[in-house]
Amino acid sequence: MHRTRIKLEAVAFTLPSLLLTLALGIYPIFWAIRYMFYEYAGYGTPKFVGLYNFERLYHDERFWNAVTNTLVYAGGKLLVTLPLSLLLAVLLNRRMRGAGLFKTIFFMPTVLSASVMSIVFYVIFNSYNGMLNQLLQQIGLSRGVEWLGANYAMLTMILIAIWGAVGNYMLLFLAGLQGIPRDIYESASIDGARPVQQFFYITIPMLGPVLQMVMLLAITVSLKGYESIMVLTQGGPFGKTDVMFLYVYKMFFPVASTTAEVQQYGYGSAVGFAAALLIGAVTLIYFYASKKLNSLY
């Protein structure tokens, strides 16, 4: 009787999230998998086209351009974000004055709306009268850089992504660092280990599981990110900042109703599937690499 009640309670507590997961997580996946083989504009009868969407994908220069851009965007973001957030976490983990204030400042971008901040960044980066260019001109460093132009738009997007992510990962690293017993560092100091040696021989190995988790999170999030790009450049100029999921978004929601573009649910689903496979492949490579990392330490 008691056991049955526990089972009922377990089901009752699990059911709401299970239903939500099924409706909002699992069902759309199967929906998209089905429509990958159809042409469908959101009305009328979907037309079965077999593997045509994948054949189109293979020849679609815009998709491969978006893949390249995604790798550059995610790579650029990760290369700076992870070391920087770890460095900040190590610094703020020391008992220093104002650490709390700095933690709040660095974490703030994580809780701000990406869309709203993108508009603020437009005011900063726009080349004609943006704040950054005005500053550069005033101190005589430059006559103006087209930060959102063809040459620098991706760099600008990466900088904004770094700004938005550092605080979040810093906090996760901090949580990991606080789990490392202080007496290990004290023993190391007594044995004559310098701070750099302590970092590489104590902090990094002891942080191993957290580091792996944060890197996994960072990789998948970076490969999927597109919100600030959508607001700031819409993937432009002419595809220079188009990333995979922005491309998928545009297939499902054409940017402007005044264009003679219609929704392409079938092809969008195929692109989404291919993008998910690519992210899955990158994640697998990471898993393999992290296993190697485990064996090193």
Binding site: E146, A150, V255
Partner: protein, 477 residues
């Protein structure tokens, strides 16, 4: 202990207030979740308390529109209707900020569709009809309405498959908008009439204004949907088709646009464009024009209201018919969104009441107010005869002339690869082989057109006798 709880409470308040502003996706990003249109960002006008409420529950109708530029006007009209109608009807209007089409998709899919739907563009008309968002109005039209709107009903403009789904109200004429003060400073007497003059004028304006940060020409080239808004007014007044579509051939031929695109490329090479033009949306462009930093650009009759309310112009400005390729006006300037306004949802539970409201909205009295308040310029003959000119600086140049006309629709097709606006804007900004770009566009657009025709989605027959000059004088003499 008390401080701890106070801290937790404050943290909770801070978190919930920030969460309400939206969320960065770091750590739990899900494109599907974050991209779903959330909320309407809508300006909502609640129905006023009905005087009849004590007698019977009023019939509540929902009216959705994305016309946020006309928010004040629409709210005032709806409030007037709610106060004065004798049918115990209360209308609630939702003025959408963004993603109107997607909001409608969700509303119809979840049986929360509005009773009255604003049709916000020709592509939307066709799509809304196919999706079942609009009911045919033919059986509901009164003889008076048939008489007033009859001459403006056309297939693809407000009719699909011979059935009428919406009626016209106002349209937006298109003009070359120019900074009179900068023209005077550069010693230019009148706006350019040919593309070559346009190139020369842009260069002179830049030479005269550059020291003060003013440049000759601009365009909202960030937008891949409307960045090429100058092409149709210039091209169609020169006598060519719309959006690269050749009505005579019943096919796309982007070579028509070549002289215009080359002229804009030349202005880019001359340094006549305002810096950062590739990232310029229409509103930032307007903001710069209002400050006197732009010499000229092509846009719609929305601008006078924008320079009155949104970005009060600090300069003297005016508008003129756009230039043509060689100075000859062989065609017309298309009037934007002229054949469409509102329609009835087939899912409305109060169709009779919704139609009463729609009928009221299409009365001459209400349509007149749209023109007089400067929302747009009426295209309905009975309204044009009665409506006064809006009292807005700069509107004079936008009043319909014999060169303004409603154009036949361009087929709506699903293309593969880069859209024509993006491809041609790319050429304007970075150059390349324009002939190759045009060849590629023609191939892809016509392949998509053939496919749509074969599936029966689109009818695009050649019209060998089509002549844009015959549309001259159809709206005004």
């Amino acid at each position: 202990m008390a401080r701890k709880w106070l801290g937790i409470a404050l943290t909770g308040i801070l978190a919930s207030s920030l969460a309400a502003c939206g969320g960065n996706n770091e750590g739990n990003a899900s494109p599907s979740a974050s991209s779903a249109p959330s909320g309407t960002g809508a300006a909502s006008s609640s129905p006023a308390a009905s005087p009849a409420a004590s007698q019977a529950e009023p019939v509540k109708l929902n009216f959705w529109t994305p016309d946020r530029g006309a928010t004040d006007h629409i709210k005032a009209e709806i409030a007037r209707y709610n106060e004065t109608n004798k049918d115990n009807i209360q209308v609630e209007v939702n003025i959408m900020a963004e993603n109107y089409d997607q909001q409608l998709d969700i509303a119809f899919a979840s049986n929360q569709a509005p009773d009255i739907v604003r049709v916000n563009g020709l592509p939307s008309l066709s799509v809304f009809v196919k999706k079942g968002y609009l009911a045919p109005l033919d059986d509901l039209l009164t003889p008076d309405m048939k008489e007033r709107f009859g001459s403006l009903l056309r297939e693809g403009v407000n009719q699909i498959g011979g059935k009428t789904y919406t009626l016209p109200n106002y349209g937006t004429t298109q003009r070359l908008i120019y900074n009179v003060e900068l023209f005077e400073k550069a010693g230019i007497k009148e706006p350019p009439k040919t593309l070559q003059e346009m190139i020369d004028v842009a260069k002179k304006l830049t030479a005269a204004g550059k020291a003060d940060g003013a440049y000759g020409i601009a365009g909202n080239l960030k937008s891949t949907g409307s960045g090429l808004r100058f092409a149709d007014p210039i091209g169609m007044l020169s006598g060519m088709g719309s959006s690269g579509y050749d009505y005579k051939k019943g096919a796309f031929d982007f070579a028509q646009l070549k002289p215009i695109i080359e002229a804009y490329r030349q202005m880019k090479l001359d340094g006549s464009f305002i810096p950062g033009v590739e990232q310029l949306d229409i509103d930032p462009l307007r903001a710069q024009f209002a400050e006197g930093k732009i010499g000229m650009y092509v846009s719609t009759a929305s601008e006078p209201l924008v320079y009155k309310n949104q970005f009060p112009a600090k300069i003297k400005w005016a508008s003129a018919l756009p230039p043509t390729i060689d100075g000859q006006q062989r065609g017309i300037v298309p009037v934007g969104n002229a054949g469409i306004f509102i329609g009835l949802s087939p899912k409305s539970e109060h169709k009779e009441e919704a139609w009463k409201f729609i009928e009221w909205m299409y009365s001459d009295e209400v349509l007149k107010s749209y023109q007089e308040d400067g929302v747009g310029l009426s295209v309905v003959p009975s309204v044009i005869a009665k409506a006064g000119k809006p009292e807005i600086n700069g509107i004079d140049g936008f009043m319909p002339t014999k060169f303004d006309a409603i154009i036949p629709p361009v087929p709506i097709i699903a293309i593969e690869g880069m859209g024509y606006q993006e491809a041609l804007i790319k050429y304007i900004l970075v150059g390349g082989d324009l002939d190759a770009v045009i060849k590629d566009l023609n191939a892809r657009y016509n392949a998509a057109l053939d496919k749509a025709k074969a599936s029966g989605e689109v009818k695009a027959e050649p019209m060998p006798d089509f002549d844009l000059s015959q549309l001259q004088g159809t709206l005004a003499k």
